[in-house]
Symmetry: C2
Subunit: 421 residues, 2 copies
């Protein structure tokens, strides 16, 4: 049986007909490698902005159902144009929207989750030697309603299709060359990772690296689909492979460093130390759809019999969070609520840190040596995050990148050969 490779190209890669021709070349290159190719594309460049602007002209609060109808047309344009560009090069290609393929989602508009992907039409056309082009970002419900997948949607479409077809791998083409040990704009010695595990990639994504949406990585992890992040402009650069940690040789404890500058710390001061107070706060925030990241509750203060509860949120949720907590203030009986957006979350990530003692202390010492005050700490099995002043973030990232020796060329290698390279 021939191997299937799924390729995904985002909106900037198909922004105009010239770029679509380039994408056609990349697709044909993969086809000529002897693989069956399924291509997932997003809407062209600024199409979505243009459509959203027209919708806003007509209604301050356009219905989510009609927004999905509207936005899904964007991929309809790009899939057909890419098929034509490929055909013009003498290759057989066919485009399908989500309804035609049968990319079934739950019945939720603007952020639906994929439930099931029919593979019959995809396999039939691949078996006929065709390059198959599928609209990303969109789905359809069992009732024939058109849905969209929300942020990271096209990446998720591509990974889910790769999983359904049991594809060799899923290549996500972007305007960066792969996943780096840290942001190269902050640390010039940042090196490109040859490979990284799903778990590390998830932590890097959550920690502020914007290469892939966590949702697509989670989908890949769940289905064990090898993901490759690679450049739209360097056809021979293999980018970074993301795969299961079990397939990797862990040769160093820390894989990457990331800083997230978009968080705000909230402190609820002197919450009476009675059961259920934290539950009340966080369930109320959850109802308002506010995601909470780091949470710390202090030991109860003996004098006042109260706790301080601190947590971080995305700064875009700051206003909503303060309004929500203000309503709750008298019910909780706390003294005050403080918010600070001049903070940054600096994280080191590495699947190898589990077995190696001294990584956390190494991080704390590095920050301490720079005179950087740590405001909060949270840890997971493969990540340590410290909240610091925003002004100290870049300094911290540079020092940690050096401390954990991330400037060399290959940071984590793969057991045996990389699949299908």
């Amino acid at each position: 049986m021939r191997r299937i490779v799924v390729q995904k190209f985002g909106g900037t890669s198909v922004a105009d007909t010239g770029k679509i021709k380039n994408v056609a070349k990349t697709v044909i290159h993969e086809k000529n490698n002897g693989n069956d190719v399924v291509v997932v594309v997003s809407a062209m460049g600024h199409t979505t902005d243009y459509l959203v602007k027209m919708a806003k002209d007509l209604s301050a609060t356009p219905s989510e159902r009609e927004m999905d109808m509207l936005l899904s047309t964007g991929e309809g344009v790009s899939i057909a144009l890419l098929a034509m560009a490929i055909q013009a090069q003498g290759y057989d290609a066919v485009s399908f929207n989500a309804m035609q393929v049968g990319i079934f989602t739950e019945n939720v508009h603007s952020k639906a989750r994929i439930l099931k992907i029919e593979t019959e039409k995809l396999r039939k056309n691949l078996n006929e030697g065709k390059i198959v082009i599928v609209a990303g970002f969109q789905g359809v419900t069992a009732d024939g309603e058109i849905t969209t997948l929300g942020r990271g949607g096209s990446d998720t479409s591509a990974v889910a299709i790769a999983a359904a077809l049991n594809a060799e791998r899923c290549d996500i083409y972007t305007d960066v060359e792969g996943v780096y040990t840290t942001d190269p704009r902050v640390v010039p010695t940042a090196s490109k990772l040859k490979s990284i595990s799903y778990e590390e990639m998830l932590e890097l994504a959550h920690a502020g690296a914007n290469v892939l949406h966590p949702r697509s990585v989670e989908t890949a992890k769940l289905n064990n689909v090898p993901l490759r992040v690679r450049s739209s402009f360097k056809i021979d650069d293999m980018g970074t492979l993301i795969l299961g940690v079990d397939k990797m040789e862990i040769d160093r404890p820390v894989t990457g460093v990331a800083a997230d500058l978009s968080q705000t710390r909230i402190v609820v001061l002197d919450v009476p130390d009675t059961p259920g107070q934290a539950a009340k706060i966080f369930s109320t925030l959850a109802k308002e759809n506010i995601s909470v990241d780091m949470i710390i509750q202090s030991y109860a203060k003996k004098e006042t019999n109260t706790n301080d509860i601190a947590f971080t949120i995305d700064t875009s949720d700051k206003g909503k969070t303060l309004t929500t907590l203000d309503k709750l203030k008298s019910e909780i009986g706390c003294r005050d609520i403080l918010a600070n957006s001049e903070i940054a979350k600096v994280s080191i990530i590495g699947a190898g840190m589990i077995d190696r003692p001294g990584i956390a202390s190494g991080m704390f010492e590095t920050l301490s040596n720079l005179g950087i005050n740590i405001k909060m700490i949270s840890t997971s099995e493969i990540k340590i995050s410290c909240l610091v002043d925003k002004a100290d973030a870049n300094k911290a990232v540079k020092a940690l990148h050096e401390e954990f020796d991330l400037g060399s060329d290959v940071v984590a290698d793969v057991k045996g050969d990389l699949p299908n390279v």
Copy 2:
């Protein structure tokens, strides 16, 4: 049971968000009349041109299948935007593309014919009190392939939906106020018809009046759907009603005058008078997809035992026709082939002329009195056409319009009341 009215708005009516708001008002006005409303819309203004241009950038001969995929996105945009505009006015609306409704066509791209329209989803949503908006111009095959209907497609979608739903009538909104006795730019006294029969409208359409594509009129006639041509800009103007001749009071023999300036006369000189010669010529042209309009074969000339065969074609087919006939020349054994594009076909149309003698002679005399030479004549039950020099066309139309008294206000009235007015 509530009455259903189908409304159709073309590309110029939905060219921008301001115009879409106007369409929303017209739709709501009809809904407030107490009718269930289905709205069929075309793609916004220049969308189709823009999409075609991108396709041509990518391929000199883009595949028809992918062109259908591409072009069908245009209506996807306009239906969603119109739904939002209606919702913004506080009315419930929902949009569907052809695949969602189930507008099934034959498996032909770029000019498919509608085979069947499912009504379940339409009726369900109408019964829920919603204004239902449907994408015109597009269809879907039983295999889930997206098709488009070709020229006059959106009008045809609207009429076919009206037929499937057994609608009260189908209103085609355009930038003219209705159907006129002749082109008002040529004859300032041209009057708007209150009503006209399908048959007359078909002859007027074929004769060069560009209000409605003949295909939509034929579909209306076949299904006996009352059609109304009315202005997008004058909400209270009832335009022209097109319906079965059996429902009309015929009070004058001639309903309209039309001139078609886009024809070319071809004369095949001295074709040997043996059986099968005409069949050979016209079947060869048919194979090349060349439509032939008027055909005249002279009596055989005794001296040479030959005929002259003359016919008219659309001038856009002139080159192809001459090339085709040139190949056939030696086989037929004719003397020469002549082409003349400086001609015009002037027609008078009227369902009432059947029972009235002297209409044809009245036409010939009128032209004769003006010194206009008639080059060819063809007649049907409700139409008489004369081929004249192009330079004489306007003069002929004006004189015929006056001869048959078409400058008054109401030209043909309807038996009893107009339906649902």
